[in-house]
Amino acid sequence: MLRSDWLANYADFWRDRYADIGTAALEHLTISATAIALGSLVAIPLGMLLASNRIRWLHTLVFTIANIFQTVPSLALLAILIPLLGIGVKPAIFALFLYAILPILRNTYAGFSSVDPALVESAKGMGYGTVQRLLAIQFPLAFPYIMSGIRMTTVYIISWTTLASLIGAGGLGQLIVSGMGVNKEELIVTGALAAIVLALVADRLLGALEKRFTRKARTVTRETSYV
Protein backbone atom coordinates (compact mmCIF):
# COMPACT_ATOMS: atom_id res chain seq x y z
CA MET A 1 0.00 0.00 0.00
CA LEU A 2 2.68 2.34 1.13
CA ARG A 3 4.88 1.24 -1.73
CA SER A 4 2.36 1.86 -4.48
CA ASP A 5 1.65 5.21 -2.84
CA TRP A 6 5.31 6.07 -3.06
CA LEU A 7 5.50 5.01 -6.67
CA ALA A 8 2.45 7.07 -7.59
CA ASN A 9 3.93 10.08 -5.84
CA TYR A 10 7.20 9.45 -7.63
CA ALA A 11 5.47 9.34 -10.98
CA ASP A 12 3.78 12.62 -10.11
CA PHE A 13 7.17 14.07 -9.22
CA TRP A 14 8.51 13.13 -12.65
CA ARG A 15 5.51 14.68 -14.36
CA ASP A 16 6.06 17.93 -12.49
CA ARG A 17 9.79 18.08 -12.71
CA TYR A 18 10.82 16.31 -15.95
CA ALA A 19 11.91 19.57 -17.56
CA ASP A 20 14.25 20.33 -14.62
CA ILE A 21 15.60 16.77 -14.64
CA GLY A 22 16.23 17.02 -18.35
CA THR A 23 18.09 20.31 -17.95
CA ALA A 24 20.16 18.90 -15.10
CA ALA A 25 21.03 15.79 -17.13
CA LEU A 26 22.04 17.91 -20.10
CA GLU A 27 24.23 20.13 -17.91
CA HIS A 28 25.75 17.03 -16.39
CA LEU A 29 26.50 15.56 -19.77
CA THR A 30 27.99 18.81 -21.07
CA ILE A 31 30.34 19.14 -18.11
CA SER A 32 31.48 15.50 -18.32
CA ALA A 33 31.86 15.46 -22.08
CA THR A 34 33.83 18.71 -22.13
CA ALA A 35 36.15 17.49 -19.40
CA ILE A 36 36.77 14.18 -21.18
CA ALA A 37 37.23 15.81 -24.57
CA LEU A 38 39.77 18.23 -23.13
CA GLY A 39 41.45 15.43 -21.22
CA SER A 40 41.74 13.35 -24.39
CA LEU A 41 43.08 16.29 -26.34
CA VAL A 42 45.90 16.70 -23.85
CA ALA A 43 46.50 13.11 -22.79
CA ILE A 44 46.51 11.34 -26.18
CA PRO A 45 49.18 13.50 -27.83
CA LEU A 46 51.15 13.48 -24.58
CA GLY A 47 50.96 9.70 -24.42
CA MET A 48 52.09 9.44 -28.05
CA LEU A 49 54.96 11.78 -27.34
CA LEU A 50 56.08 9.82 -24.32
CA ALA A 51 55.82 6.48 -26.11
CA SER A 52 57.90 7.73 -29.01
CA ASN A 53 60.92 8.67 -26.93
CA ARG A 54 62.92 7.10 -24.17
CA ILE A 55 63.69 10.13 -22.03
CA ARG A 56 63.30 8.55 -18.62
CA TRP A 57 63.09 11.66 -16.49
CA LEU A 58 60.37 13.08 -18.72
CA HIS A 59 58.28 9.94 -18.32
CA THR A 60 58.70 10.02 -14.57
CA LEU A 61 57.89 13.71 -14.39
CA VAL A 62 54.73 13.51 -16.48
CA PHE A 63 53.38 10.42 -14.78
CA THR A 64 54.13 11.81 -11.33
CA ILE A 65 52.25 15.02 -12.04
CA ALA A 66 49.30 13.11 -13.51
CA ASN A 67 49.32 10.82 -10.49
CA ILE A 68 49.26 13.74 -8.08
CA PHE A 69 46.19 15.21 -9.76
CA GLN A 70 44.60 11.82 -9.56
CA THR A 71 45.14 11.43 -5.83
CA VAL A 72 43.90 14.85 -4.62
CA PRO A 73 40.45 14.24 -3.10
CA SER A 74 37.88 15.57 -5.52
CA LEU A 75 36.05 17.69 -2.99
CA ALA A 76 39.30 19.31 -1.91
CA LEU A 77 40.34 19.96 -5.50
CA LEU A 78 37.05 21.69 -6.21
CA ALA A 79 37.47 23.80 -3.07
CA ILE A 80 41.02 24.73 -4.00
CA LEU A 81 39.88 25.86 -7.43
CA ILE A 82 37.30 28.34 -6.10
CA PRO A 83 39.84 31.07 -5.31
CA LEU A 84 41.57 30.45 -8.63
CA LEU A 85 38.69 30.07 -11.05
CA GLY A 86 35.70 31.15 -8.97
CA ILE A 87 32.59 29.06 -8.92
CA GLY A 88 30.37 27.61 -11.60
CA VAL A 89 30.92 25.42 -14.62
CA LYS A 90 34.49 26.45 -15.46
CA PRO A 91 36.30 25.26 -12.32
CA ALA A 92 34.21 22.10 -12.35
CA ILE A 93 35.25 21.27 -15.89
CA PHE A 94 38.84 22.11 -15.07
CA ALA A 95 38.93 19.82 -12.05
CA LEU A 96 37.36 16.92 -13.93
CA PHE A 97 39.70 17.50 -16.84
CA LEU A 98 42.64 17.03 -14.48
CA TYR A 99 41.16 13.74 -13.32
CA ALA A 100 40.62 12.56 -16.88
CA ILE A 101 44.24 12.99 -17.90
CA LEU A 102 45.96 10.14 -16.11
CA PRO A 103 43.89 7.13 -17.20
CA ILE A 104 43.78 8.28 -20.81
CA LEU A 105 47.48 9.06 -20.74
CA ARG A 106 48.32 5.69 -19.26
CA ASN A 107 46.28 3.82 -21.83
CA THR A 108 47.58 5.80 -24.76
CA TYR A 109 51.12 5.20 -23.59
CA ALA A 110 50.44 1.49 -23.11
CA GLY A 111 48.74 1.31 -26.51
CA PHE A 112 51.62 2.91 -28.37
CA SER A 113 54.19 0.91 -26.45
CA SER A 114 52.35 -2.28 -27.35
CA VAL A 115 52.86 -1.74 -31.07
CA ASP A 116 55.48 -4.23 -32.26
CA PRO A 117 58.72 -2.27 -32.86
CA ALA A 118 59.40 -4.53 -35.85
CA LEU A 119 56.21 -3.22 -37.46
CA VAL A 120 57.26 0.34 -36.83
CA GLU A 121 60.65 -0.33 -38.33
CA SER A 122 59.08 -2.16 -41.25
CA ALA A 123 56.90 0.91 -41.89
CA LYS A 124 59.90 3.18 -41.60
CA GLY A 125 61.92 0.99 -43.95
CA MET A 126 59.18 1.12 -46.57
CA GLY A 127 59.17 4.87 -46.59
CA TYR A 128 56.51 6.07 -44.17
CA GLY A 129 57.30 9.54 -42.85
CA THR A 130 57.14 10.06 -39.09
CA VAL A 131 53.67 11.60 -39.12
CA GLN A 132 52.31 9.10 -41.65
CA ARG A 133 53.65 6.26 -39.54
CA LEU A 134 52.05 7.68 -36.43
CA LEU A 135 48.66 8.14 -38.05
CA ALA A 136 48.47 5.16 -40.41
CA ILE A 137 50.23 2.49 -38.35
CA GLN A 138 50.74 3.28 -34.70
CA PHE A 139 47.51 5.10 -33.94
CA PRO A 140 45.17 2.47 -35.44
CA LEU A 141 47.04 -0.28 -33.62
CA ALA A 142 46.94 1.61 -30.30
CA PHE A 143 43.33 2.66 -30.78
CA PRO A 144 41.67 -0.14 -28.77
CA TYR A 145 43.83 0.75 -25.76
CA ILE A 146 43.07 4.44 -26.08
CA MET A 147 39.34 3.76 -26.39
CA SER A 148 39.26 1.58 -23.33
CA GLY A 149 41.01 4.37 -21.42
CA ILE A 150 38.40 6.85 -22.58
CA ARG A 151 35.51 4.54 -21.68
CA MET A 152 36.83 3.92 -18.22
CA THR A 153 37.41 7.62 -17.66
CA THR A 154 33.95 8.51 -18.95
CA VAL A 155 32.21 6.27 -16.46
CA TYR A 156 33.89 7.71 -13.42
CA ILE A 157 33.91 11.31 -14.64
CA ILE A 158 30.13 11.14 -15.07
CA SER A 159 29.87 9.86 -11.54
CA TRP A 160 32.18 12.55 -10.15
CA THR A 161 30.39 15.32 -11.99
CA THR A 162 27.65 15.05 -9.35
CA LEU A 163 30.11 16.72 -6.95
CA ALA A 164 30.45 19.68 -9.29
CA SER A 165 27.12 21.00 -8.11
CA LEU A 166 28.85 21.82 -4.79
CA ILE A 167 30.64 24.69 -6.50
CA GLY A 168 27.55 25.73 -8.36
CA ALA A 169 28.12 24.02 -11.67
CA GLY A 170 24.67 22.43 -11.78
CA GLY A 171 24.09 19.02 -13.25
CA LEU A 172 22.44 16.00 -11.69
CA GLY A 173 24.34 16.60 -8.44
CA GLN A 174 22.15 19.65 -8.02
CA LEU A 175 19.12 17.39 -7.66
CA ILE A 176 20.86 15.35 -4.99
CA VAL A 177 22.08 18.38 -3.03
CA SER A 178 18.60 19.97 -3.15
CA GLY A 179 17.07 16.67 -2.11
CA MET A 180 19.37 16.57 0.90
CA GLY A 181 18.50 20.17 1.76
CA VAL A 182 14.74 19.73 1.69
CA ASN A 183 14.82 16.09 2.73
CA LYS A 184 13.14 14.93 -0.43
CA GLU A 185 14.08 11.36 -1.33
CA GLU A 186 12.68 11.56 -4.84
CA LEU A 187 15.25 14.18 -5.78
CA ILE A 188 18.15 12.19 -4.39
CA VAL A 189 17.03 8.95 -6.04
CA THR A 190 16.36 10.65 -9.35
CA GLY A 191 19.73 12.39 -9.41
CA ALA A 192 21.58 9.17 -8.63
CA LEU A 193 19.59 7.05 -11.06
CA ALA A 194 19.99 9.52 -13.87
CA ALA A 195 23.75 9.68 -13.32
CA ILE A 196 23.96 5.88 -13.39
CA VAL A 197 21.90 5.64 -16.55
CA LEU A 198 23.97 8.36 -18.17
CA ALA A 199 27.21 6.56 -17.36
CA LEU A 200 25.93 3.23 -18.64
CA VAL A 201 24.61 4.71 -21.87
CA ALA A 202 27.84 6.62 -22.52
CA ASP A 203 29.86 3.47 -21.89
CA ARG A 204 27.71 1.51 -24.31
CA LEU A 205 27.94 4.16 -27.00
CA LEU A 206 31.71 4.39 -26.76
CA GLY A 207 31.91 0.62 -26.77
CA ALA A 208 29.92 0.49 -29.99
CA LEU A 209 32.16 3.15 -31.48
CA GLU A 210 35.29 1.23 -30.53
CA LYS A 211 33.88 -1.95 -31.97
CA ARG A 212 33.02 -0.25 -35.22
CA PHE A 213 36.60 0.79 -35.73
CA THR A 214 38.30 -2.35 -34.52
CA ARG A 215 35.77 -4.89 -35.72
CA LYS A 216 38.05 -6.08 -38.47
CA ALA A 217 40.97 -6.74 -36.21
CA ARG A 218 38.71 -8.71 -33.87
CA THR A 219 37.37 -10.90 -36.65
CA VAL A 220 40.90 -11.50 -37.69
CA THR A 221 42.03 -12.80 -34.33
CA ARG A 222 39.00 -15.00 -34.04
CA GLU A 223 39.46 -16.60 -37.43
CA THR A 224 43.12 -17.25 -37.01
CA SER A 225 42.54 -20.75 -35.75
CA TYR A 226 40.85 -21.83 -38.95
CA VAL A 227 43.83 -21.13 -41.12
Binding site: D116, E121, A123, G127, A217
Partner: protein, 386 residues
Protein backbone atom coordinates in the same frame (compact mmCIF):
# COMPACT_ATOMS: atom_id res chain seq x y z
CA UNK B 1 75.41 -1.34 -57.96
CA UNK B 2 75.78 -0.54 -54.29
CA UNK B 3 79.22 0.48 -53.09
CA UNK B 4 80.44 0.67 -49.52
CA UNK B 5 83.63 2.67 -49.10
CA UNK B 6 85.42 2.49 -45.75
CA UNK B 7 82.17 2.35 -43.85
CA UNK B 8 82.38 2.30 -40.07
CA UNK B 9 79.68 2.22 -37.45
CA UNK B 10 80.28 2.84 -33.78
CA UNK B 11 77.41 3.12 -31.35
CA UNK B 12 77.19 5.83 -28.71
CA UNK B 13 78.31 3.39 -26.05
CA UNK B 14 81.55 2.89 -28.00
CA UNK B 15 80.64 -0.52 -29.39
CA UNK B 16 82.22 -0.91 -32.79
CA UNK B 17 79.77 -2.87 -34.92
CA UNK B 18 81.32 -2.26 -38.31
CA UNK B 19 85.02 -1.86 -38.91
CA UNK B 20 85.92 -0.47 -42.25
CA UNK B 21 83.57 -2.19 -44.66
CA UNK B 22 84.46 -2.07 -48.34
CA UNK B 23 81.97 -3.86 -50.47
CA UNK B 24 80.50 -3.82 -53.93
CA UNK B 25 77.08 -5.29 -54.41
CA UNK B 26 76.45 -6.09 -58.05
CA UNK B 27 73.22 -5.07 -59.75
CA UNK B 28 70.83 -7.85 -60.71
CA UNK B 29 72.37 -10.35 -58.30
CA UNK B 30 71.42 -11.88 -55.00
CA UNK B 31 74.13 -10.95 -52.54
CA UNK B 32 73.90 -12.85 -49.30
CA UNK B 33 75.31 -11.34 -46.13
CA UNK B 34 76.01 -14.14 -43.71
CA UNK B 35 77.71 -14.57 -40.36
CA UNK B 36 77.04 -15.41 -36.73
CA UNK B 37 74.68 -13.13 -34.81
CA UNK B 38 76.23 -9.83 -33.91
CA UNK B 39 78.61 -9.89 -36.88
CA UNK B 40 77.08 -6.73 -38.33
CA UNK B 41 75.29 -8.24 -41.33
CA UNK B 42 71.91 -6.68 -40.51
CA UNK B 43 73.57 -3.37 -39.67
CA UNK B 44 75.29 -3.42 -43.05
CA UNK B 45 71.97 -4.03 -44.75
CA UNK B 46 70.14 -1.31 -42.84
CA UNK B 47 72.78 1.20 -43.89
CA UNK B 48 71.52 0.83 -47.44
CA UNK B 49 68.06 2.20 -46.73
CA UNK B 50 69.39 4.51 -44.05
CA UNK B 51 67.59 2.91 -41.16
CA UNK B 52 71.05 3.18 -39.64
CA UNK B 53 73.53 5.86 -40.57
CA UNK B 54 77.26 5.17 -40.72
CA UNK B 55 79.74 6.83 -38.36
CA UNK B 56 82.21 7.20 -41.20
CA UNK B 57 82.52 6.24 -44.84
CA UNK B 58 80.32 6.46 -47.85
CA UNK B 59 77.60 4.35 -49.42
CA UNK B 60 76.72 4.92 -53.02
CA UNK B 61 73.88 3.52 -55.07
CA UNK B 62 74.63 3.75 -58.79
CA UNK B 63 77.32 6.25 -57.99
CA UNK B 64 75.17 8.54 -55.88
CA UNK B 65 75.99 9.11 -52.24
CA UNK B 66 72.88 8.10 -50.32
CA UNK B 67 73.74 10.40 -47.41
CA UNK B 68 72.68 13.24 -49.67
CA UNK B 69 69.28 11.77 -50.50
CA UNK B 70 66.05 12.19 -48.58
CA UNK B 71 65.75 9.01 -46.47
CA UNK B 72 61.98 8.69 -46.84
CA UNK B 73 62.15 8.98 -50.61
CA UNK B 74 65.15 6.67 -50.76
CA UNK B 75 63.29 3.98 -48.81
CA UNK B 76 60.31 4.11 -51.13
CA UNK B 77 62.67 3.13 -53.94
CA UNK B 78 64.05 0.16 -52.01
CA UNK B 79 61.97 -2.90 -51.20
CA UNK B 80 62.21 -4.12 -47.63
CA UNK B 81 61.27 -7.51 -46.19
CA UNK B 82 61.82 -8.21 -42.50
CA UNK B 83 62.12 -11.37 -40.49
CA UNK B 84 58.82 -11.32 -38.60
CA UNK B 85 57.08 -10.44 -41.86
CA UNK B 86 55.89 -7.06 -40.59
CA UNK B 87 52.53 -7.07 -42.34
CA UNK B 88 50.25 -4.47 -40.81
CA UNK B 89 47.56 -6.43 -38.96
CA UNK B 90 44.91 -3.73 -39.31
CA UNK B 91 45.14 -3.58 -43.09
CA UNK B 92 43.80 -6.03 -45.65
CA UNK B 93 46.24 -7.96 -47.82
CA UNK B 94 45.54 -5.62 -50.72
CA UNK B 95 46.25 -2.58 -48.54
CA UNK B 96 49.41 -4.16 -47.23
CA UNK B 97 50.74 -4.89 -50.69
CA UNK B 98 49.73 -1.41 -51.86
CA UNK B 99 51.58 0.38 -49.08
CA UNK B 100 54.42 1.79 -51.15
CA UNK B 101 52.35 2.54 -54.29
CA UNK B 102 49.98 4.48 -52.03
CA UNK B 103 52.84 6.36 -50.43
CA UNK B 104 54.03 7.17 -53.93
CA UNK B 105 50.48 8.31 -54.74
CA UNK B 106 49.92 5.96 -57.67
CA UNK B 107 46.47 6.18 -59.13
CA UNK B 108 44.02 3.82 -57.67
CA UNK B 109 43.38 1.63 -60.66
CA UNK B 110 47.04 1.12 -61.36
CA UNK B 111 47.56 0.18 -57.72
CA UNK B 112 44.71 -2.35 -57.75
CA UNK B 113 45.96 -3.87 -60.95
CA UNK B 114 49.45 -4.16 -59.55
CA UNK B 115 48.18 -5.82 -56.36
CA UNK B 116 46.26 -8.47 -58.32
CA UNK B 117 49.20 -9.07 -60.61
CA UNK B 118 51.55 -9.60 -57.66
CA UNK B 119 49.17 -11.90 -55.80
CA UNK B 120 48.89 -14.02 -58.91
CA UNK B 121 52.66 -14.03 -59.22
CA UNK B 122 53.02 -15.94 -55.95
CA UNK B 123 50.06 -18.18 -56.60
CA UNK B 124 47.50 -16.52 -54.34
CA UNK B 125 44.11 -15.97 -55.98
CA UNK B 126 43.43 -12.22 -55.76
CA UNK B 127 39.66 -12.72 -55.56
CA UNK B 128 40.11 -14.79 -52.40
CA UNK B 129 43.01 -13.08 -50.68
CA UNK B 130 42.64 -9.41 -51.59
CA UNK B 131 40.29 -8.59 -48.75
CA UNK B 132 41.60 -10.91 -46.12
CA UNK B 133 43.60 -9.82 -43.12
CA UNK B 134 47.15 -10.99 -42.43
CA UNK B 135 46.14 -13.09 -39.42
CA UNK B 136 43.88 -15.17 -41.67
CA UNK B 137 46.90 -16.39 -43.66
CA UNK B 138 49.45 -19.08 -42.84
CA UNK B 139 53.03 -18.06 -42.09
CA UNK B 140 54.23 -19.02 -45.56
CA UNK B 141 51.42 -17.08 -47.23
CA UNK B 142 52.12 -14.08 -45.03
CA UNK B 143 55.76 -14.01 -46.02
CA UNK B 144 54.79 -14.33 -49.69
CA UNK B 145 52.78 -11.16 -49.14
CA UNK B 146 55.82 -9.67 -47.40
CA UNK B 147 57.92 -10.42 -50.49
CA UNK B 148 55.45 -9.07 -53.04
CA UNK B 149 54.88 -5.99 -50.89
CA UNK B 150 58.56 -5.26 -51.36
CA UNK B 151 58.15 -5.72 -55.12
CA UNK B 152 55.02 -3.58 -55.37
CA UNK B 153 56.52 -0.34 -56.63
CA UNK B 154 59.03 -2.22 -58.78
CA UNK B 155 62.16 -1.11 -56.93
CA UNK B 156 65.58 -1.96 -58.31
CA UNK B 157 66.93 -2.90 -54.92
CA UNK B 158 65.32 -5.21 -52.39
CA UNK B 159 66.60 -5.76 -48.87
CA UNK B 160 65.62 -8.99 -47.16
CA UNK B 161 66.45 -9.44 -43.49
CA UNK B 162 66.33 -13.16 -42.63
CA UNK B 163 62.96 -13.28 -44.37
CA UNK B 164 62.43 -17.04 -44.19
CA UNK B 165 64.04 -17.89 -40.88
CA UNK B 166 60.79 -17.91 -38.90
CA UNK B 167 59.08 -20.31 -41.30
CA UNK B 168 58.79 -24.08 -41.05
CA UNK B 169 61.33 -25.97 -43.19
CA UNK B 170 58.86 -26.86 -45.93
CA UNK B 171 57.53 -23.32 -46.38
CA UNK B 172 61.08 -22.02 -46.23
CA UNK B 173 62.14 -24.33 -49.04
CA UNK B 174 59.12 -23.32 -51.12
CA UNK B 175 59.75 -19.63 -50.63
CA UNK B 176 63.42 -19.99 -51.45
CA UNK B 177 62.48 -21.73 -54.69
CA UNK B 178 59.92 -19.06 -55.44
CA UNK B 179 62.48 -16.35 -54.82
CA UNK B 180 64.88 -18.04 -57.25
CA UNK B 181 62.10 -18.28 -59.82
CA UNK B 182 61.08 -14.65 -59.36
CA UNK B 183 64.66 -13.48 -59.52
CA UNK B 184 65.19 -15.25 -62.85
CA UNK B 185 62.47 -13.04 -64.28
CA UNK B 186 63.00 -9.86 -62.34
CA UNK B 187 66.79 -9.57 -62.02
CA UNK B 188 66.62 -7.30 -58.98
CA UNK B 189 69.56 -6.31 -56.88
CA UNK B 190 68.76 -8.30 -53.75
CA UNK B 191 70.64 -7.99 -50.50
CA UNK B 192 69.73 -11.01 -48.42
CA UNK B 193 70.74 -11.41 -44.78
CA UNK B 194 70.80 -14.89 -43.28
CA UNK B 195 72.67 -17.02 -40.77
CA UNK B 196 71.88 -20.22 -42.63
CA UNK B 197 74.74 -21.41 -44.87
CA UNK B 198 72.51 -23.76 -46.85
CA UNK B 199 70.23 -20.86 -47.68
CA UNK B 200 73.20 -18.70 -48.64
CA UNK B 201 74.60 -21.35 -50.97
CA UNK B 202 71.21 -21.97 -52.49
CA UNK B 203 70.24 -18.36 -53.12
CA UNK B 204 73.43 -16.39 -53.33
CA UNK B 205 75.12 -15.29 -56.51
CA UNK B 206 77.70 -13.77 -54.19
CA UNK B 207 78.23 -14.59 -50.54
CA UNK B 208 79.70 -12.06 -48.14
CA UNK B 209 80.87 -13.74 -44.96
CA UNK B 210 81.12 -11.44 -41.96
CA UNK B 211 82.49 -11.71 -38.47
CA UNK B 212 82.87 -9.15 -35.67
CA UNK B 213 81.97 -6.23 -37.89
CA UNK B 214 84.36 -7.08 -40.70
CA UNK B 215 84.11 -8.93 -43.97
CA UNK B 216 86.02 -12.21 -43.81
CA UNK B 217 85.50 -13.42 -47.35
CA UNK B 218 83.52 -12.44 -50.42
CA UNK B 219 82.94 -14.65 -53.40
CA UNK B 220 80.74 -16.98 -55.36
CA UNK B 221 79.43 -19.89 -53.28
CA UNK B 222 81.62 -22.31 -55.24
CA UNK B 223 84.70 -20.21 -54.58
CA UNK B 224 84.05 -20.01 -50.86
CA UNK B 225 83.42 -23.74 -50.62
CA UNK B 226 86.55 -24.59 -52.51
CA UNK B 227 88.85 -21.99 -51.08
CA UNK B 228 87.78 -20.98 -47.61
CA UNK B 229 89.91 -18.02 -46.56
CA UNK B 230 90.59 -19.23 -43.03
CA UNK B 231 89.53 -21.59 -40.27
CA UNK B 232 86.57 -19.41 -39.35
CA UNK B 233 85.15 -19.70 -42.85
CA UNK B 234 85.84 -23.43 -42.81
CA UNK B 235 84.07 -23.95 -39.53
CA UNK B 236 81.21 -21.76 -40.70
CA UNK B 237 80.81 -23.71 -43.90
CA UNK B 238 80.97 -26.93 -41.92
CA UNK B 239 82.71 -30.25 -42.60
CA UNK B 240 79.60 -31.71 -44.16
CA UNK B 241 79.56 -29.31 -47.09
CA UNK B 242 83.31 -29.47 -47.64
CA UNK B 243 83.36 -33.26 -47.94
CA UNK B 244 81.91 -33.00 -51.42
CA UNK B 245 84.51 -30.42 -52.37
CA UNK B 246 87.55 -32.20 -51.00
CA UNK B 247 90.75 -30.31 -51.61
CA UNK B 248 94.31 -31.65 -51.73
CA UNK B 249 94.97 -31.03 -48.08
CA UNK B 250 91.81 -32.87 -47.19
CA UNK B 251 93.14 -36.12 -48.66
CA UNK B 252 94.43 -38.60 -46.13
CA UNK B 253 98.12 -38.65 -45.22
CA UNK B 254 100.43 -41.60 -45.77
CA UNK B 255 100.15 -42.46 -42.07
CA UNK B 256 96.51 -43.44 -42.51
CA UNK B 257 97.18 -45.65 -45.50
CA UNK B 258 100.46 -47.44 -44.71
CA UNK B 259 100.91 -50.93 -43.35
CA UNK B 260 102.53 -50.56 -39.97
CA UNK B 261 104.32 -53.89 -39.67
CA UNK B 262 105.41 -54.95 -43.11
CA UNK B 263 107.74 -57.84 -43.65
CA UNK B 264 111.22 -56.73 -42.62
CA UNK B 265 114.50 -58.54 -42.10
CA UNK B 266 117.79 -57.60 -40.50
CA UNK B 267 120.81 -57.31 -42.85
CA UNK B 268 122.51 -60.40 -41.35
CA UNK B 269 119.82 -62.87 -42.41
CA UNK B 270 120.78 -65.62 -44.80
CA UNK B 271 119.06 -66.03 -48.17
CA UNK B 272 117.22 -69.24 -47.24
CA UNK B 273 115.83 -67.50 -44.19
CA UNK B 274 114.68 -64.66 -46.40
CA UNK B 275 112.81 -67.04 -48.71
CA UNK B 276 111.15 -68.69 -45.72
CA UNK B 277 110.01 -65.27 -44.35
CA UNK B 278 108.62 -64.24 -47.68
CA UNK B 279 106.79 -67.51 -47.97
CA UNK B 280 105.35 -67.05 -44.49
CA UNK B 281 104.25 -63.45 -45.01
CA UNK B 282 103.15 -64.14 -48.58
CA UNK B 283 105.12 -61.23 -49.98
CA UNK B 284 107.59 -60.96 -52.85
CA UNK B 285 110.08 -58.65 -51.19
CA UNK B 286 111.55 -57.76 -47.82
CA UNK B 287 112.65 -54.48 -46.39
CA UNK B 288 116.01 -54.63 -44.74
CA UNK B 289 116.10 -52.71 -41.49
CA UNK B 290 119.13 -52.52 -39.17
CA UNK B 291 118.93 -52.86 -35.41
CA UNK B 292 118.40 -49.11 -35.05
CA UNK B 293 115.31 -49.49 -37.18
CA UNK B 294 116.84 -47.61 -40.08
CA UNK B 295 115.96 -48.65 -43.57
CA UNK B 296 118.96 -50.17 -45.37
CA UNK B 297 117.51 -51.50 -48.55
CA UNK B 298 115.08 -53.90 -50.10
CA UNK B 299 115.39 -57.38 -51.59
CA UNK B 300 112.98 -59.02 -53.98
CA UNK B 301 112.38 -62.75 -54.27
CA UNK B 302 113.97 -62.76 -57.73
CA UNK B 303 117.29 -61.36 -56.52
CA UNK B 304 117.37 -63.82 -53.62
CA UNK B 305 116.65 -66.85 -55.83
CA UNK B 306 119.23 -65.63 -58.31
CA UNK B 307 122.01 -65.86 -55.71
CA UNK B 308 120.48 -68.69 -53.70
CA UNK B 309 123.36 -71.13 -54.31
CA UNK B 310 125.86 -69.01 -52.42
CA UNK B 311 125.28 -70.08 -48.86
CA UNK B 312 127.56 -67.52 -47.22
CA UNK B 313 125.70 -64.52 -48.58
CA UNK B 314 123.30 -62.50 -46.41
CA UNK B 315 120.47 -60.32 -47.58
CA UNK B 316 122.76 -57.29 -47.06
CA UNK B 317 124.82 -58.52 -50.00
CA UNK B 318 121.94 -58.85 -52.43
CA UNK B 319 119.74 -55.91 -51.37
CA UNK B 320 119.16 -52.84 -53.47
CA UNK B 321 119.24 -49.43 -51.86
CA UNK B 322 115.89 -47.71 -51.41
CA UNK B 323 115.70 -44.71 -53.70
CA UNK B 324 112.38 -43.22 -52.68
CA UNK B 325 110.91 -42.78 -49.25
CA UNK B 326 108.34 -40.40 -47.87
CA UNK B 327 108.17 -38.88 -44.43
CA UNK B 328 105.27 -39.37 -42.08
CA UNK B 329 102.56 -36.74 -42.48
CA UNK B 330 103.03 -36.49 -46.23
CA UNK B 331 99.80 -36.22 -48.17
CA UNK B 332 98.75 -39.41 -49.88
CA UNK B 333 98.47 -37.55 -53.17
CA UNK B 334 102.20 -36.76 -53.06
CA UNK B 335 102.99 -40.40 -52.32
CA UNK B 336 100.76 -41.60 -55.14
CA UNK B 337 102.37 -39.22 -57.56
CA UNK B 338 105.81 -40.50 -56.59
CA UNK B 339 104.71 -44.08 -57.01
CA UNK B 340 103.24 -43.59 -60.43
CA UNK B 341 106.15 -41.46 -61.61
CA UNK B 342 108.78 -44.06 -60.71
CA UNK B 343 106.67 -47.15 -61.32
CA UNK B 344 107.04 -48.20 -57.69
CA UNK B 345 105.01 -51.07 -56.37
CA UNK B 346 105.51 -49.83 -52.84
CA UNK B 347 106.87 -46.92 -50.91
CA UNK B 348 108.44 -46.85 -47.48
CA UNK B 349 107.41 -44.31 -44.88
CA UNK B 350 110.08 -43.03 -42.51
CA UNK B 351 110.05 -40.63 -39.61
CA UNK B 352 111.94 -37.38 -39.68
CA UNK B 353 114.87 -39.04 -37.86
CA UNK B 354 115.06 -41.78 -40.50
CA UNK B 355 113.31 -44.46 -38.42
CA UNK B 356 111.28 -46.80 -40.55
CA UNK B 357 107.57 -46.82 -39.68
CA UNK B 358 105.59 -48.42 -42.45
CA UNK B 359 104.95 -49.19 -46.07
CA UNK B 360 102.47 -48.05 -48.64
CA UNK B 361 101.61 -50.58 -51.31
CA UNK B 362 99.15 -50.38 -54.17
CA UNK B 363 96.99 -52.80 -52.26
CA UNK B 364 96.78 -50.60 -49.16
CA UNK B 365 95.88 -47.56 -51.28
CA UNK B 366 93.11 -49.41 -53.03
CA UNK B 367 91.63 -50.79 -49.84
CA UNK B 368 91.78 -47.36 -48.20
CA UNK B 369 89.97 -45.76 -51.13
CA UNK B 370 87.39 -48.51 -51.11
CA UNK B 371 86.80 -47.91 -47.41
CA UNK B 372 86.32 -44.19 -47.95
CA UNK B 373 83.95 -44.77 -50.82
CA UNK B 374 81.91 -47.26 -48.84
CA UNK B 375 81.58 -44.98 -45.82
CA UNK B 376 80.57 -42.15 -48.13
CA UNK B 377 77.88 -44.28 -49.59
CA UNK B 378 76.50 -45.33 -46.27
CA UNK B 379 76.63 -41.72 -45.09
CA UNK B 380 74.61 -40.72 -48.08
CA UNK B 381 71.94 -43.31 -47.64
CA UNK B 382 71.63 -42.38 -43.97
CA UNK B 383 71.11 -38.84 -45.06
CA UNK B 384 68.35 -39.84 -47.43
CA UNK B 385 66.66 -41.91 -44.80
CA UNK B 386 66.64 -38.94 -42.45
Amino acid sequence: MIQFTEVKKTYDDGREVLKNINLEIQAGEITVLIGPSGCGKTTTMKLINRLISPTAGQIRIDGEDIAKSDPVRLRRKIGYVIQNIGLFPHMTIARNVAVVPRLLKWDRQATDRRVDELLALVGLDPAIYRNRYPAELSGGQQQRIGVIRALAADPDIILMDEPFSALDPISREQLQNELIRLQQELRKTIVFVTHDMDEAIKLGDTIVLMRDGAIVQTGKPEQILRHPANDFVKSFIGKKRMAGEQTAEELPTVDEVMVEHPATASPTRGLAEAVKMMEKRRVDSLLIVDKNNRLQGTVSIYRVLDQFGEESKTVADVMKPVEHVVQTGTSLSVALQLMSEHQLSNLAVVREDGQFVGLITRGTVVSHMAGMYASDRTGESNHVAV
